[in-house]
Symmetry: D2
Subunit: 253 residues, 4 copies
């Protein structure tokens, strides 16, 4: 099972315009630092957070228990002008896990309902043996040569966003998630997605929008190790001049 | 004219996998903190940076001169394990400005060529009277009620990404840029885009994907003030129950 | 036993002037952020770091094992332009623990010897039952009324530094340490120091330099809990109008 | 004239124990990040902040005007759970400047009076030609060989603190300030202090406590440049095997 946590800044929208609109640069700094901060705390237990929408962060939290979540909420309350609520869920697929986490939090009230620092747990992985994470690290083939070094910076980010949109659309149908992690990189928590289905998705996108993608896949009992194996898989594909669409690593030598 | 700066981490891709893939959480923290850091320094001169691809940041830098740019490069070199190169360009439209900035940097060598801490200036706004920024702050109508509080966190971010993809596609054709700034918010540096064209884009997206958007527009000699006016415009539309598609503010009472 | 870790930036002095002196503000930011960063990671396991000399940090690390230390070194290497080495020691007194930690690291080579990212462990607390921390939180009576609000900011900091110097001198003789933690606050890891000795030290300082101090003392199996109890003790003394010199809390109701 | 700013966290003491004592590690992170943050903003205008007591920061702000100060207050309010008030003063000596800055702020109410985000300006340097900063960068001769590599980490910091206490005592009598900036380094804003007096202070300390110190001195219209020249002076003394007590640099070749 994969465990996911939804981290939501409480009543953030109204706060950003009270008493009048806050300076955009300050909000951008606040959001980026809050993300980096939560990341550092969740990573201490081998979890991983994705920036998602910044005011709503999704994290793979296999390995974190209730106290770990409460300590993060406390540390944010003590150092930021805002508080965070969390929802936690575990399931066979990442999409279902985040859905359960979201519902658990929504049942406690709306994001702008005045609800404050709630920790709503649908379910946690109790038995370490049930903890399993499959993650795919996907990137664009030769992005530096084909985009970064020849297209304008915005046009390159437009192409990367286009690839993201297509990947999100197709992976979501398979119960997998997809997050942009910078550069031309995407991370997909994808428990239950088999290699054939992922390969087909990459082939279809190549045919539909002409963007060549590859994916390293890793499997472990936590996202840190799964992501690392996925990175190794990606390196192996590169060394093979991107001839493989995907490369799975299930254990490290 | 609008002045834009492309900030690129030197040889970042190879660095992230040397000697072996670096822990993903560390890279996420590094990228977010570098962005927040550059933001704070550029905001000190009323500029604004967008996270774009994190390893490539685009900023509106009206008001920043050559020394301001060099000081930022120095401060990053002194505090991070990576260095940054920059390209600067100014033009009548944001897309053209970032294109000139990108070309200036590309001419100094590729992103992975070993080129290090380059400051490539195509042109800077010399005369303050030539400095002009039009910015549109676009958001989704009633996102909390229609998405955040009823859909799963991932499905909401999927819809927001979909809106982003459509906005990027249509605004780009008009020489405007579009950046996601968190939540359900987008910022578009859009010098030269008239109100009718922007209104049509919002109406078309409503019809094509059923997502209702609104835009506050601001105009000033720097992006900080233009963005603030755009925020005020957005507030006015909200107070009018989203009856307006757009609201332009050209000066503050 | 109390476990202490010495965290030392590798070859820092020479780095700060290579190739020429680095901007002082950048160094100040680097040092403060490295401290905050290590703090966040050590606090995740209920440890506590003191800024000490910034390039040499002393931490109480009861509860942290070898892997916890290695993960911190890796995360710093991945996000900073410098690396850190560590020495770890455990003993009956804090002074002896940091002495053992220092010797373990010194035996691996000098701070400017080119030694890089060493983890030198003299000994770790293996059995949780052996883990014990006594911490005293000491502050100046009515500092706001007697100093902050009437003396110049520098003269107040001069008096606080004077109190620190006297406290360091006397506590050190008892095998206890003393760290300034901001404002008019000091924290003393002081396993083995009895209440009579601490009271006498506070009385002597009052007589010698006329600065009235009080101390809350806490005891637990980790510094986070011990420091919290010490805070409660300090609050109780305040509520009693500073009539007590010290107040010990051994467990929370 | 030298301009100094006192930055004080509003009502900080009570906040740290409301509703109950906040986790010490969180407070340490908050203080260090607030310092680094203000530093980055003040450094953007070539000023320099000293951590002082963390809840009270003293900064040399030649080059910063009223708006610069207000922007910093706004950015802190938007990103931290606390607000800051500031006092500003300019005079012929650093001690007098910070005294005027402190008085200006004290006149607006006590640190715990509920006074919030005050900017109290006694006087600012209006004419750039009046702006002058003399700064001495003082360090301990061969600290690595004589202390760091042979004494315990705490005993070394004890000796450094002892040197600081003696330096603060003697420099204060001359109207100069002294701040610890990490390692074995001290920075003294010392407008008006002549070379003979500083030399005598270093000689006296050598005789009184046996700690050998040296000082690089710089003079410029802002602290960033003055500190850089002081660094160069220190390097020159090192190259001469610490034969000189002090070395003054008034301009860079």
């Amino acid at each position: 099972m994969i465990q996911m946590t939804l981290i939501q800044i409480d009543n953030y929208g109204p706060w950003t315009v009270t008493p009048k609109p806050r300076t955009e640069s300050d909000l951008q700094i606040l959001q980026a630092e809050l993300f980096a901060d939560v990341q550092r705390q969740i990573a201490a237990k081998k979890g991983l957070v994705f920036f998602t929408r910044f005011d709503n962060l999704l994290a793979v939290t296999n390995g974190l228990n209730e106290e770990d979540h409460m300590r993060i909420q406390r540390s944010i309350r003590n150092r930021y002008p805002v508080t965070i609520s969390m929802g936690v869920g575990a399931a066979e697929t990442a999409h279902e896990a985040q859905r359960l986490a979201t519902i658990a939090l929504q049942e406690k009230g709306g994001a702008q309902s005045g609800r404050k620092e709630i920790l709503a747990i649908n379910n946690l992985i109790e038995n370490p043996e049930d903890s399993f994470v499959q993650a795919a690290h996907i990137d664009i083939n030769s992005v530096t040569e084909t985009l970064t070094d020849i297209e304008s910076a915005f046009d390159t980010s437009f192409m990367v966003n286009k690839a993201q949109h297509y990947l999100m659309t197709k992976l979501r149908e398979k119960g997998a998630l997809l997050f942009f992690i910078g550069g031309d990189n995407f991370m997909s928590p994808c428990n239950g997605l088999n290699e054939e289905d992922l390969t087909k998705i990459l082939i279809d996108i190549k045919e539909e929008i002409g963007i060549g993608l590859k994916a390293g896949i890793g499997r472990a009992d936590n996202i840190e190790d799964a992501a690392y194996m996925a990175d190794i898989g990606l390196e192996i594909i590169r060394e093979g001049n991107n001839k493989e669409w995907i490369h799975l690593i299930e254990e490290l030598q």
